[in-house]
């Protein structure tokens, strides 16, 4: 008698699974319209992975995801900006399960997965926007030139990256918010009244929930930059009207960023704003270095002065119960202290209590 696991029968079954898996990988590559070389790479990763002990015996569900993971890794290695969200929706997969398979694959096969290129993501994401051609449901003033939109959206995403809005955040909502601002700014008169939600609906794309917050953060950055542009100080620029000037702000962004914010290591604000006489007061800069004003809560202390260029989580720290550092008495614990009976008995039920509990359980 030979155990099934040692018979050739099992090997045949595995290769059928492998064949099916390979076909699935190839089909997905065709759906995603990937170059042929991607398909070859993904299939080879898939074969390697399936033979690896940690994937050999995983559930069929995971094996299906494994194929998608191999495609995802291949795309990233070629700087093809495929997001996890996209591949998960194609596989009808739960993102947590995909994530765990991806991390295992990366670890077990020792694959190096380069970071997602935001610039490339902008191009592919905007490609799915239905705003570049005249159709029945899109009003004429809303149609935009794709190349212009890609350029401006990329610039806004770069601005977001420089001002700490990108690190640690989901990339797609940032691109969505940037696309919206760029689209509005290219023809503000007709488009200012359109909301982010309507914009996404018209464009035929999903509105990811964080996009609203990213939009708010971007507008805050732009407003601060606007405050440093001399000819804008005449107007009362607010978060609606600043959109009209995004073109100018992007053009002078390097200069404006330097003046609107000061860097962590206390760089002096030397240069004055164009056309302005007085330099920014270093005192205001010093005060702004503290994390916000406790008395004002979330509002910025000084609307005109530079604030430190920090990630939003440091500018608006969420009130957290700081666990106290271990006290002297805590540190004196040896672990061998005597344990009193009374202390233990507090955790035990008395006989009446047990009876009552039993009765209550019977009712349930």
């Amino acid at each position: 008698e030979v155990a099934y696991s040692q018979s050739t029968g099992q090997k045949e079954q595995l290769s059928r699974c492998l064949q099916r898996g390979i076909r699935r990988v190839q089909d997905l590559c065709k759906v995603l319209q990937l170059p042929t070389v991607f398909e070859e790479t993904a299939v080879s990763y898939f074969q390697r992975a399936l033979q690896h002990p940690s994937f050999h015996l995983v559930s069929l569900e995971k094996k299906e995801l494994l194929g998608g993971c191999c495609i995802f890794v291949t795309c990233r290695q070629h700087n093809w900006p495929l997001t996890m969200g996209t591949i998960c929706s194609l596989l009808y997969a739960k993102q947590e399960l995909f994530a765990s398979v991806f991390l295992s694959l990366q670890k077990e096969l020792g694959l190096s997965v380069p970071a997602l290129s935001l610039a490339d993501l902008v191009k592919t994401h905007l490609n799915s926007f239905r705003l570049f051609q005249r159709t029945a449901d899109i009003p004429a003033p809303f149609v935009e030139d794709e190349a212009k939109m890609v350029t401006r959206t990329t610039q806004i995403v770069e601005l977001a990256s420089e001002t700490w809005l990108v690190t640690g955040r989901h990339p797609v909502p940032i691109v969505t918010a940037a696309a919206f601002l760029s689209w509005q700014s290219l023809r503000p008169a007709a488009r200012l009244a359109c909301t982010l939600a309507r914009f996404c609906k018209l464009a035929g794309v999903d509105l990811p929930p964080p996009a609203h917050l990213r939009l708010k953060e971007l507008l805050e950055i732009l407003l601060r930059m606007a405050s440093q542009l001399a000819w804008l100080r005449v107007f009362n620029v607010d978060k609606k009207t600043v959109v009209k000037h995004i073109g100018d702000l992007l053009q002078h962004r390097i200069f404006l960023l330097k003046n609107a914010f000061h860097l962590e290591d206390g760089e002096e604000q030397g240069a004055a704003a164009p056309g302005e006489g007085s330099p920014v007061s270093p005192v205001a800069g010093g005060a702004a270095q503290e994390q916000g004003c406790p008395s004002e809560g979330k509002r910025q202390c000084d609307e005109d002065g530079p604030r430190p260029l920090l990630p939003p989580c440091l500018i608006h720290p969420r009130k957290r119960l700081r666990t106290a550092a271990p006290s002297a008495s805590d540190s004196a614990i040896t672990g061998d202290e005597p344990i009193s009976d009374s202390e233990i008995e507090q955790y035990l039920r008395g006989p009446e209590e047990i009876q009552a509990f039993r009765k209550a359980k019977a009712w349930l």
Partner: protein, 310 residues
Amino acid sequence: FKDDLSTSPQLFAPMSPYDVDLPLQPTEDVLFGSQFNQPKELPTDFSVDLSFLPDITPDNKEQNLSEDGHEAQKELDGSVSRNDDGGIFMDESSSSNPDATQPSPEGSGACLPLTPMTPMTPVTPASERSGIVPQLQNIVSTVNLACKLDLKNIALHARNAEYNPKRFAAVIMRIREPRTTALIFSSGKMVCTGAKSEEQSRLAARKYARVVQKLGFPAKFLDFKIQNMVGSCDVRFPIRLEGLVLTHQQFSSYEPELFPGLIYRMVKPRIVLLIFVSGKVVLTGAKERSEIYEAFENIYPILKGFKKAT
């Protein structure tokens, strides 16, 4: 097996002792299998320590093989004492002058196990030390009560116990001081989580054992072992994670689509660090607190050097 409490991707769970939905395997045999099958651990002095071997990069590969080659043979044959300077080696990009950070070959060759471990001259000069001490946030320990337990009985007679066999095959018990949670299995094995120090974890585990004793079981207290330690601290400046993952690709995993922090798998000591844009760092996977401190002292110059470059 790979996915144990200390290093699984679900490693965030042990930080909250009151989180009932701990992602543990239901059969505790899987949990304890590796621990109890290992031979009893000898003091670290007697384990072969290869920390003197630098990372293999094209630059220092030849150089170190010639310098340390002779000592390497000696040390691989016998037992050596732990090399305190080992931690520096995992970072090949930190110093343009590799000689400055390597210990003298004579020094490492001469260490004998009989010599008590006096702290060697730290390679990181005091002026570069961070001055920040990671705070321990959670300790996970295990102990064997060495008797079969009737979990239903325990849940009935103990006030601080929860038992939901359909959900999880263990009693979840809590005590107020030290504030901890215990998972007690019918085999008599127990896991204790939530303590802020090794001593507190041991004291807590003893209290749980006493509760079980008072409930009428002949509980013992065998093989108490710290399985995982979690620490955290704040470097107080923001960090460009996208840059860090580029320069330290072989150790880092940064996927903002999955998780906002960068996962840094340090080789020496074998610690996993979660590094966030805010500058907060979580360190986990340690069996001794010195590993947490050492890991942080290793990562701090990397993070600091990185800050200036941007």
